[in-house]
Symmetry: C2
Subunit: 294 residues, 2 copies
């Protein structure tokens, strides 16, 4: 079974547990709306790729880690879209959860997805209890305080002059990529630490790419409105470095990520994944402009 099929199956299994009969039906539907249809699933694919590179010996644990990472990513998007943050009407080309189900269910669906992520790890890694604690540690650190994605979002509530852009981006996006890579390793019984740098670089690259797309892409390429970072006065690589400076930074980060793959069986496949992701993340309109300028 290919990686994406494994991820979709693990996510469906987790959500079917959460949406069981007897619960409030609209909450289950709001959670599903947040997770399906799928986005790029780049974080869980990274998790499974690292698990495979480390000689995966417990596919249930790897699937659980990958699904948990994606559930947490989806939860963060649901809360990030709320009126008190981005007030985004559209996500992945469809109404955001609060637009489709109302603000209360969007708050609760996000909460329940966070819980579901930890339940999924507990169930999936149950056969290897000694991996469970380290997995929870890696994943928990990536989403809470002081340095997880909730903290990254919270930097937007600090006085702008006190916010370090690198710190903010590492917390907001990089850390969940780092956790995806480390959790993949831990799920396979390997050390997580050596995989942190790869994830961090890839995560920072992804955030820079997102900033570029926000500043420079056509709305129909994104599935959500463009230009919101500037409109909301948020820190952005594209406003800090300019679009072409940000493109240079993205290319450097992708190269650093490829260089950070530790020696392992699956190194070549991993580098290939990084290369294709970096290409995919560049907006087509920018790529076209680059071709026209050449």
């Amino acid at each position: 079974m290919d990686a994406v099929s494994r991820i979709e199956r693990a996510l469906s299994a987790a959500l079917s547990h959460a949406g069981k009969a007897g619960g409030p039906p609209r909450l289950g539907k709001a959670m599903e709306h947040a997770v399906f249809p799928r986005g790029a699933r780049v974080r869980p694919r990274l998790c499974l790729a690292v698990a495979a590179a480390c000689g995966e010996d417990d596919p249930a644990a790897a699937d659980a880690a990958a699904a948990a990472i994606e559930l947490l990513h989806c939860a963060s998007l649901v809360h990030d879209d709320l009126p008190c943050f981005d007030n985004a009407d559209v996500r992945r080309g469809r109404p955001s959860v609060h637009r489709a189900f109302g603000e209360p269910l969007a708050v609760l669906a996000g909460d329940a997805l966070i819980v579901l992520a930890f339940q999924t790890i507990a169930r999936g890694a149950g056969a290897a209890p000694r991996r469970l604690g380290p997995l929870l540690e890696v994943v928990g650190a990536a989403v809470g305080a002081p340095a997880g994605i909730a903290a990254g979002q919270a930097w937007e509530c600090e006085p702008p002059e006190t916010v370090d852009l690198g710190h903010y981006q590492r917390s907001k996006t990089g850390i969940l990529f780092a956790a995806a890579a480390m959790a993949g390793a831990v799920s396979a019984g390997a050390e997580g630490g050596p995989w942190r740098l790869l994830g961090e670089r890839l995560g920072e690259a992804y955030q820079v790419a997102d900033d570029i797309r926000d500043a420079a892409a056509e709305p129909e390429e994104m599935g959500k409105p463009a230009g919101r970072d500037v409109a909301l006065g948020r820190p952005s690589a594209a406003t800090s470095y300019g679009v072409s400076g940000a493109v240079t930074r993205l290319e450097a980060l992708a190269a650093e990520a490829m260089a950070a793959v530790p020696p392992c069986r699956g190194a070549a496949e991993l580098r290939g994944l990084i290369r294709s992701e970096a290409k995919r993340l560049m907006p087509a309109s920018l790529a076209a402009r680059a071709v026209a300028a050449a």
Copy 2:
């Protein structure tokens, strides 16, 4: 060390980890505001009392379970107070988190508290990895979907005619009490199941008491505005049964909770705790009216 001191110490340790240097300072402060100064801490006290009754042999695991339950309770209050739910300005006699720190930090503080609860369990039960999975299972089921407190809150987003009051109350409050009792047992290496009924009855009693206080207490007794269930059209034992019917129901539930204590060393102490809680939960103004009427 008495139970409340243990709980406060465990909560302080958890929050000091989350508020570590390098994180966004206001998020750490918002999380502290949500947890301190303390409320009644009735759920973690129940957890520790059950652990003791089961012959507690791993105080770190029991402390972690108790702290996690309280962190989740505090998280639910922060989100429950948000403008899109109760829009409550006051909690425990002080500004609610969103009034003190703004709505974005209230959403994020709640999220980070949920994560911190699971991190706290992972750390505290690390020395007993075989208890870790069952502890996570018990606690996770009590807060997520389909039947945890997020689900309980989500019932308020379903058409009122489809909502069963007992189901709603069990999810909204009872289940976290059940989890507190069961987690106490599991942290001590005992089976959680036999302790569920005790927690459920106590939790339902607590919700009925809250409904009575909302309908009948003087505002200064509550530390928050009264009459909100009626104002918000929410299901309430006091509106369903009338205040005196709800008082009768509360007394019956407290008696059922006492009868549900499984045979164990600490049964007498547990029953004493239940008796004193039931007394404490009755608003003083109602108790005075009952005396005047006698």
